[in-house]
Symmetry: C2
Subunit: 348 residues, 2 copies
């Protein structure tokens, strides 16, 4: 018997789903109203155009940091707004880019005269709309720098002439470190350089055991055979880069981690920040079981896990699955990681 008992070796039926929704079109707006009501000391929701800013704005003269993208990845990005991290987050509809108008309004709102950093996950719509917003902001006298997050190793084949690697859970590390640098008073070029360095030395890989379902949808976005997992899956309900045999947790963790270590070219003596991230419907027990193996693999390779997170940080609605992110760490990066932060999702 394998790790799972008595799963029939057949295509899984397209599992019916139900969710807590009123009307699917209203989910994002209602959720933002709910979060603002729950956390008025941390965030403030600007309804139209829609963006979420810190309840207490940062003092002027500092670089401001904003991010955004499709909803459905909660707690990203709204949960990362607060002291020491994002000055604002711009939420789109579920899995859809925010508009340039939203991004521009958020940029203008948080600009403190020292420039604004846009942390953007690498998806065509997000990149385009953030770029358009940046152009308008520049016309407005605001200097904007974009930091592109493209950590998803599964999409390396898309580099070259393609759209490049997708941005996934490394976004948390980039937003934390960039927010800390901005809070510490670093100038725009310095904040941008740090963020780009973190993005360049972060890689992620994900695996799904079951797809998530859009709000109000009766079916998940894809089905899986009972004896296979979706490997290299993205965070937008898209299928992965291939199917692999369902296997015990340790074997799946190996498949996630070893390519990251190889691609980052890390080994004995190197240091990392590691995130074992839940994609939505994965239990805390499972994530901790996966993380145990991640830590063991890295330890055996002589790589030190300096800091770690285990939990749902960048989800894909209610997908059952997880991702592992590794970021090369050094003393400067760790000091920025350890700097005080106060958001819904991260706080220390």
């Amino acid at each position: 018997m394998t790790a799972q008992d008595a799963i029939p070796d057949q295509i899984l039926v397209s599992t019916p789903r139900r969710q807590f929704v009123n009307h699917p079109d209203d989910v994002v707006e209602e959720a933002l109203e709910g979060l603002e009501g729950a956390y008025p000391r941390l965030i403030r929701w600007n309804r139209d155009p829609s963006f979420v800013a810190r309840a207490q704005a940062a003092p002027p003269g500092r670089v401001a940091v904003i991010s955004g993208g499709g909803s459905g990845h909660e707690p990203l990005h709204v949960g990362m707004v607060g002291e020491g991290m994002l000055d604002a987050a711009v939420p789109g509809a579920v899995f859809a880019s925010p508009t340039a108008g939203q991004i521009l309004a958020a940029t203008q709102s948080v600009s403190g005269g020292a420039g604004v950093v846009h942390v953007v996950k690498n998806y065509t719509g997000d990149v385009l709309n953030f770029e358009i917003a940046a152009e308008f902001a520049t016309d407005d006298g605001i200097t904007v720098r974009q930091i592109l997050v493209d950590d998803d190793l599964a999409t390396t084949s898309m580099t070259g002439d393609g759209p490049g690697r997708r941005g996934t859970a490394a976004t948390v590390v980039v937003e934390k470190v960039v927010g800390a640098a901005a809070s510490a008073g670093a100038d725009l070029e310095r904040v941008t350089a740090i963020g780009r360095r973190v993005a360049a030395t972060s890689r992620s890989m994900a695996v799904a055991l079951a797809a998530g379902a859009h709000p109000g949808a009766a079916r998940p976005s894809f089905d899986l055979p009972a004896d296979e997992v979706e490997f290299g899956v993205g965070i937008h309900g898209e299928r992965g880069v291939g199917r692999r045999a369902f296997a015990p947790a340790d074997d799946l963790a190996d498949l996630l981690v070893r390519p990251l270590v190889a691609d980052l070219a890390i080994g004995r003596g190197d240091r990392v920040i590691a995130i074992t991230n839940g994609l939505g419907a994965t239990t805390g027990l499972e994530l901790a079981v996966i993380h145990r193996r991640v830590a063991r693999i890295l330890d055996a390779a002589g790589i030190t896990v300096e800091r770690a997170l285990v939990g749902p940080y960048v989800t894909s609605l209610d997908m059952a699955g997880c991702s592992v992110t590794l970021t090369r760490a050094d003393d400067e990066l760790l000091a920025l990681w350890d700097a005080p932060v106060r958001t819904i999702a991260l706080s220390w």
Copy 2:
């Protein structure tokens, strides 16, 4: 068309599940090893007997606070260990009480000479084992006080000769407030009195859209018709107290909140702490949509939500569902709630 499109009006098939596990018997130990590896600055795992203590013990002379119970509710209880909250957590197997031996060892380990408080969710096995451990600890010269958490309004009919109401998500409030009082140097009787007062003025109600599955189990613990939800569901895979029609989120939120308000006899001018808690597989968007309605109902009743949490705090493996907890609040309670805390799950 209702909020959900095209869900066939039939009994849901018993949905196949897969999880990240190696062997089901090893899940809890492996998860504890994984968490200790991820958060060595916060927690320390004592393997045998198994309990999780603060990485840095509290100074002697303070009341110590421990809790525990079955695993499968993560982040509860291990995620609540740290400065300002629990001194130790004692995890049992999935949905099973820890042994008296584990609890005694944890009690002895954290005892600082000023007494130890046991925060215990009201389940027969937990209560019994914590009581046995308390007797042994007393023989050892340690004074123990038990605070029973019994907030689940769905089980009010079990009071009287029955086992009484179950303990669910109010445990988070009790542990936070009791931990803060102990950290502030309150004596054992004072800490106990505050904790019992919080427990007595907290009520919760839960609803499930789909049951969770035990680690390694191929099937969830119960099935639901596509047009019904399980109302008053517990956190151990047990079925609820009744079925209700599946309905839009706002209607389900109404069904959760109104009985809490009635039972707590709160109204205009009263103040509460509110938790909209995910049971495992519920998205952040859904929880925020539910919380929006919770806040609106309370606001319309003239009840002030002084503080709130929205997220997965007391889960039931990968159950799709949520609970709402209300605790009466006053200035003393809010000061304890706001006191600094540093755990995996709560930090400010």
